[in-house]
Symmetry: C2
Subunit: 324 residues, 2 copies
Amino acid sequence: MHVLILGAGGMIGRKLASAVAAQGIGGQPVSGLTLADVTAPPVPAFPGAVQAIGLDLTAADAPSRLLDGRPEIIFHLAAIVSGEAEADFDRGYAVNLDATRRLLDAIRMTPGYRPRFVFASSIAVFGRPFPEVIPDDFAPQPLTSYGTQKLITELLVNDLSRRGMIDGLSIRLPTICIRPGAPNKAASGFFSGILREPLAGLPAVLPVADTVKHWFASPRAAVGFFLHAATLDTAALGANRALTMPGLAATVAEEIEALRSVAGQAAVDLIRREPDPVIARIVDGWPQAFAADRARALGFQAETRFDEILQIYLTEDAPSVSAR
Amino acid sequence: MHVLILGAGGMIGRKLASAVAAQGIGGQPVSGLTLADVTAPPVPAFPGAVQAIGLDLTAADAPSRLLDGRPEIIFHLAAIVSGEAEADFDRGYAVNLDATRRLLDAIRMTPGYRPRFVFASSIAVFGRPFPEVIPDDFAPQPLTSYGTQKLITELLVNDLSRRGMIDGLSIRLPTICIRPGAPNKAASGFFSGILREPLAGLPAVLPVADTVKHWFASPRAAVGFFLHAATLDTAALGANRALTMPGLAATVAEEIEALRSVAGQAAVDLIRREPDPVIARIVDGWPQAFAADRARALGFQAETRFDEILQIYLTEDAPSVSAR
């Protein structure tokens, strides 16, 4: 079996590549692995044939290079992120919509080829106003170009799957927490930062109220979503192959309690409250919780308590893991 | 004011062109009119400058030709119809999605230009299972490539409007009844045929049960939707600029009763019942009724009784109108 991971240089993409290389997919061995991103992504230990490709997804030859190994499973995680897609209209549509269209076209033009296509979508397909817990039949209403591009791609995945051109599904990821690495400028960055930085003995800024609630899953859960989506029986999905992934609805206060239980009050004291009305307003527009009943019934699993999310970070990602 | 009607050769497009030529838009005079379709559409009596263009919407120069008069109002009714979009994947996407994208791109690339863009969408954006009356917040779920293309264009209209690149809205039309002219092969054709043919003294075939219910508006109502959409204050729409138009939910039995009341039992006797399981199954997948509360609150109006629909046909479209 040949597997393509598009966006294999990103945080989730790297973890997914390592997991596929180490354990195969659904108990099946993987013989070939194509890892692609804007620059050639890191290659995990893997006994089979592996190809690391750095490419511009909008280039005319991108589809043929990506599909060269005729991968049976395609994980598509490559995207211009939300902020950039909003700042640069053309680039967002070129990468997040048109490049995916061309890839899908190349697939359907290949005779006898109908790969499993797992598309990384986002809860950004939803927009205010929200109920407190968003049910699976809630109508998507993107309020950003990024969310629009994700939803349009979901619709293409549905239509091409219905027509038997691909065997696709779209998985809408929660906010991933705790993101390893350095703090970034994303409006959502503090959700990880107020845990990650104090765990390393560093100060962190909390720009919103403790009562702010949001929807989370760990990087490990996210990798699990992709692996499960790769082998799921799609006949159970019907016409709507977009699934809101399960996650954990937690408040900032619950995050802080988890931190306290693991690292004590000294760690909590490193969180500095600096209310930022701009960030507060952005976050106020985000969903707080999803039912995700369909995905759970189909076997997708996420954490149920915030201290699990914290322990996963300590086990897998914290920079001092080797020193613990 | 300059007005562009794209799809001006179609049944609704021709009526819309005549209405705009005769009465202007929202009490404002129209000085220039660009009428475009695959072949140059008929030109109604009009005192101002009128241009009738026959063009392939997918041609590279189509946007510049269409936007030459820098129309303040654009009515976009051009489309590959449902059956053809399903039969020819490439052509459906090329016309119904890509050509519209290029037109929208040309608009946003024109400095200082932000026209009203009224897009003809369809209730084909919805798919089973349906509640008996579909509320405005019901999640679209297209089950055809045509419906997918219409919904994707709605999302583009929303996103470009949100970004101030156009001032757009999408109006989801009911099934138009009574369609004038010859019978066609569309699965929905009988809804018009069982009235139109007997009114002309001709036999008609009814392939489904009398209890089948569907969602209708007259051609006159459809033209009214477009004219109202052209001047509506879009600030009231919020982020979702797609509106399900009002209509009339009626059963086949109610259609037949309206026919009887206008043309008597002799006309009704011209309807031959020939159950067709294929058509019955297709029609079974269609919505029966919509609440359309948002559109009604915004001033869109349709018929409330089927005999109105019948009278409108007799007044405006029946071939023997001049002889009556």
